[in-house]
Symmetry: C2
């Protein structure tokens, strides 16, 4: 996605930094202005009090009471260079194109944070690898901070398998599953990317400081927020959309009910990426969120190991076991006459047996005989001489 003429210039970079200072990443209206007019012109407008909406005005005015945004950008770019961090913008070769698919999302949810899921304006990077190539074949592994030994072990196993097949592992920087994923990837000699909700110079939490150093050395530390930024609580939710959008799919290993990882998964599903869930003991509070997601979202995939994951994200047939959904499962079915009768029933409302016989092209006698059995099987209901399709029969494929 190449913007206007200024794209990639120093002015463009500085303007993107200033804009990220003024409004949080993902901001719908500001992103749209940048697409249309470029980052420098958009910054100019905001600084001239020309706002796309009231919410943007409030946000920008509050921030302008602090530093001068242009000055902030200048200082930050210098500081980043000293720290060994670089800024990557959409016109750069190493821009991870997949994140631009966030432009497709329409999240009609209440609340500003939820609706603001536009692509990043820029990404700060620490580490020697090229960002786009590193993320090209990548899978995110996310989950609970308060993970169990079970979750940590499964994460290590899974991650090992992904590295073996040359995939990059992506996660946040939190304790628990995130840290387990990075550690196992590093131990396996693989590439790992930590997507942070704060500056790449001060990765959070400090307890993972040693781990972050090794990630920066062997993989990448990345963030939408400029160096020096604090890990404010709401930023984790904003960050999650990048984890979802930058990878070929996301695995959720453990999650309590209403875990932050579930929000990431809803972004993954909205993007129609592979949303993979590891089940666990039903007695574990740390698997409740996983089982909830599997129950409520038929488009989420249960995975038990790296082969399952590669099957879900890889090209068809590239990985994987012999398909389990083979025709041998499909052959156990109703007899032909029963199927005809069921198919002839309207999806809603009731119908007389005579009408049904005509529709099905069967003798009334045969239809009545099948109906008795289908009623016993709970597939049809009869009331006042009329026949209705039962709920179960509708739900079944």
């Amino acid at each position: 996605m190449n913007g206007p003429n200024s794209a990639g210039s120093d002015e463009d970079r500085a303007a993107r930094v200033a804009l990220t200072y003024l409004v949080e990443p993902g901001h719908r209206a500001v992103w749209a202005l940048v697409q249309e007019y470029g980052a420098p012109a958009t910054l100019e407008r905001l600084l001239a009090d020309d706002f796309p909406d009231a919410a943007t005005r409030n946000s920008v005015r509050a921030k302008r009471q602090g530093l001068d945004p242009r000055r902030f950008a200048e200082t930050t770019l210098h500081r980043a260079a000293r720290l060994g961090a670089r800024i990557v913008v959409p016109s750069d070769d190493e821009w991870p194109a997949r994140v631009d698919s966030l432009a497709l999302l329409e999240l009609d949810l209440p609340g500003r944070i939820n609706r603001d899921v536009r692509p990043p304006l820029c990404v700060w990077v620490r580490g020697g690898r090229r960002l786009g190539e590193t993320l090209d074949r990548s899978v995110a592994v996310v989950g609970a901070r308060a993970s169990t030994g079970y979750g940590n072990n499964v994460t290590a196993d899974l991650t090992y398998g992904l590295v073996e097949h040359g995939w990059t592992v992506v996660s946040g920087g939190a304790f628990g599953i995130d840290a387990a994923a990075h550690r196992a990837t590093l131990a396996a000699g693989g590439r790992t990317v930590a997507v942070l909700a704060c500056g790449v110079d001060r990765p959070y939490p400090a307890g993972n400081a040693g781990l972050f150093e090794r990630v920066a050395e062997k993989g990448l530390l990345i963030s939408e927020w400029p160096p020096g930024s604090e890990p404010l609580r709401h930023r984790f939710l904003i960050r999650n959309r990048v984890i979802a959008a930058a990878t070929a799919g996301t695995v959720m290993v453990e999650a309590a009910a209403r875990s932050g990882a579930i929000q990431t998964m809803s972004r993954v599903l909205a993007l129609r990426r592979a949303a993979m869930v590891v089940p666990g003991p039903v007695t574990s509070a740390m698997s409740v969120g996983c089982h909830e997601l599997l129950r409520s979202r038929p488009d989420a995939t249960l995975v038990t190991d790296a082969v399952d994951v590669l099957e879900a994200v890889g090209k068809m047939g590239e990985y994987g076991r012999p398909p389990a959904r083979g025709p041998e499962h499909r052959r156990d079915t109703l007899d032909e006459e029963s199927a005809l009768v069921l198919e002839a029933l309207p999806p809603r409302g009731s119908i007389s047996p005579e009408e049904l016989a005509a529709r099905a092209g069967l003798a009334l006698r045969r239809v009545l005989r099948r109906l008795s059995l289908l009623e016993v099987a709970g597939l049809v209901e009869r009331r006042d001489g009329k026949v209705t399709l039962a709920r179960r029969a509708k739900a079944a494929p």
Copy 2:
């Protein structure tokens, strides 16, 4: 399902016992003859060497080299009366009508046992409760013989919850999950039914003898095979179809890969009953079969507790939590223009952008812009200037 005039007479009962002696239960051709001509006439035919097919002839001839079938029936009925066992036939009030839905099944699988899944000709019962009423609101709980502590605990919890809501628990008689289900039901003061693959006078395995006595006292021991019958290996697979057909749904708690419980579940699915699966640790060999089923059969339901089970088998809204598939999940979606473009693409084959624009009713410029994003998102593919729907976009709901 009432048969011909002889139905329910002593002659009818004796003939059904003799037929069960001659051919194993579920036998397709013999069941069809009984439906058409009644049990006494069918027995007469077989004894007069008038066979529906060669397989039946071989089976019947082999058995006739032993006892005289009529004599066997007489002796067995007397013996059963002494043991406190009774025979129940389809014309009896207490016949569990749901098993007759087996008449609907068309299993086009290789091998005789798999194809022979017709309803029982009769059921032997030990216990004071009426069979049909006891099975009316019933759920089967099945699983591994070599169950783990996890599986046993989950079985106990689940079963407790089912009893609390007045449901009967049905299982086989094996060690492991079967026994755990019966024990917990009895402990909770509930009704339990053990479906055996041998005579109700000599329930197998002997190690569960004490448990079987308590089941007969508080619930029911039932079998298609006459008293004295041995638990031959192939009979367990024949028996499984009755567990599947007699209940409103079946829960599989633990199962190794290629477990017998999976065969039961395939019957449950074929009957379009609720096929419920408890997940477990992916590190447990005893949950491999459960996860395999959940991955391969989208019509199987993941359940974590009794509330989930009751939601699956109960009438809509009768039980259960607020539905998890609420519209809030559905709102995270693609923007309108992208959806229009995707919908305008043919399910198979490719199309030019110009044609696509015409179909979608959008300006070519807008279509090209969306296509770039949709391509990045992996939802469409472009080759030689033509556009194709990607596999992922087809699979997603």
